[in-house]
Amino acid sequence: MRRSLVNDPDDLVVEALEGLALAHPTLVRYDAEHGFVARATPARDKVGLVSGGGSGHEPLHAGFVGHGMLDVAVPGAVFASPTALQLYDATRAADAGRGVLHIVKNYTGDVINFTVARELADEDDDIATEVVLVDDDLATEADDDDPDAPGRRGTAAVVAVEKICGAAAEEGADLGTLAELGRRVAGRARSMAFAIEAGTHPGDSRPAFDLEADEVELGVGIHGERGRSRVPFGPADELVARLVDPLLEALRPARGSGVIAIVNGLGSTYPLELRAAARAVHRGVTGRGVGVDRFLVGSYVTSLDMHGVSVTLLPSDDELLRLWDAPVRTPALTW
């Protein structure tokens, strides 16, 4: 039996956004009328960065609003895209005269609603916009070349895109440069996840899917959907290898090169587990002669209380590392 700490599940997202703003009044404000979270003090003379998507993935995206990352984050209902109007209002709020970059995880609803918002912003307000589509989830790489296939899902690589583009925007990069940079990051990064327990919708009493004691769901997404396959439960190091090996296989980083690695808890993975998983990822990567140049370990892109881990690898270079290291000051990421 699973229970959530909620009042009316329909109010949860809004109450949580109010709570976030109360906890970080110097960093963010929640605009209840328009349904977005913006910096407490709007930035000037830079390209605005907007991201958004369904709720249930916290701290994504509202936790990344602040200096060095997003200007505005737009939350939908749990696992549902924000609406086109929310995104349009957010785009207007984020524009400081130098245009707005949309960072969009690849899900049909998100893609359509962001596209509509850009069209409205262009036609009605003459705001220049660009989009970076984040599609890093290796588990959903199409096996054939079905032109109708929705393509890889967007998952934790979105944090790297937001961080790196956020730093470049702060430095004054223009819209076109940011879009190119974001696409470079998104194009390189790949992720993969497994779950040993599914997440539970607030108010439900059962997880989204059941697993037997000897099963692990490999290639899970972040919306309660099933993964690509089931593999036997086993020691953490073995399970982590099932993520790291295919990622290295897909990316084929050269020996002597380096990556930015993100080891991400999916919701209820606790720090002892996550840190031990980080160790396993580090050994897996360095064991192939590839350096872990930067290492982000924590629960950043979650699926309610899903119990599991995702690993993201992003081959690095000097520019990416410099932007990664640039100062950031948001509710969920500060350095």
Binding site: S81, T83, A84, L85
Partner: protein, 205 residues
């Protein structure tokens, strides 16, 4: 001057909008049930929420022209989730923009519907036969533009198109995930689109 180039009776935009509010709130459950049978079941709630917003927009904007009324409908949908929200929202946005004067002519409505169809297809990438709202909208556009028919003809073509969706399996939207199970079930978006056209014909008188 051809009847197609005469503006529709004053108040067309308002009559059409109010009729849609009433009809869709009444039919939301039935349409939601279709989405439950072959989709993800949220279409009814999406419609209720869209037209709730339409009513709020009307109250806030106090529209007087056709364009202003239809803009309220557009914004209602654009402030709603699902796939149908942005698709209907941009569809009605094209319709809102089709009139030069206070009320559109039938020809302008035809151009608006054609632009709306193009927009829906640009976003949704659905062709006729993919079991979507396009299956109702495309024949209606055809009836009104290429075939030079009346609004009533267009509504009838849309209705026939919507009925045809029962026999096919979905290739777009959530219903495409259920494959064969969608056969035998009408596509709720197509049925809704046919209703939109029937209510337009009624409102035109």
């Amino acid at each position: 001057m051809n009847a197609r180039d005469t503006a529709l009776d004053p108040g067309f935009g308002e009559r059409w909008t109010r009729a849609m509010i009433t009809a869709f709130v009444a039919e939301a459950d039935r349409l939601g049930e279709l989405d439950r049978l072959a989709g993800d079941g949220d279409f009814g709630r999406n419609l209720t929420s869209a037209f709730g917003r339409v009513s709020q927009e009307v109250a806030a904007a106090d529209p007087t022209t056709y364009a202003a009324w239809l803009t309220c409908v557009s914004r209602g949908f654009l402030g709603t989730g699902g796939t149908s929200g942005p698709l209907f929202g941009m569809f009605f946005r094209e319709l809102a923009r089709c009139a030069d004067g206070d009320e559109p002519t039938v020809a302008e409505l035809g151009q608006g519907l054609a632009a709306g169809l193009a927009t829906v297809q640009r976003y949704g990438k659905a062709e006729v036969g993919h079991k979507t709202m396009v299956d109702a909208l495309a024949p209606a556009v055809d009836a009104l533009t290429s075939s030079g028919g009346s609004l009533r003809d267009a509504a009838e073509a849309a209705d026939e198109g919507a009925r045809s969706t029962a026999e096919i399996i979905a290739r777009r939207g959530r219903a495409s995930y259920v494959g064969e199970a969608s056969r035998g079930v009408l596509d709720p978006g197509a049925v809704a689109m046919a209703m939109v056209l029937a209510l337009a014909a009624d409102a035109a008188g």
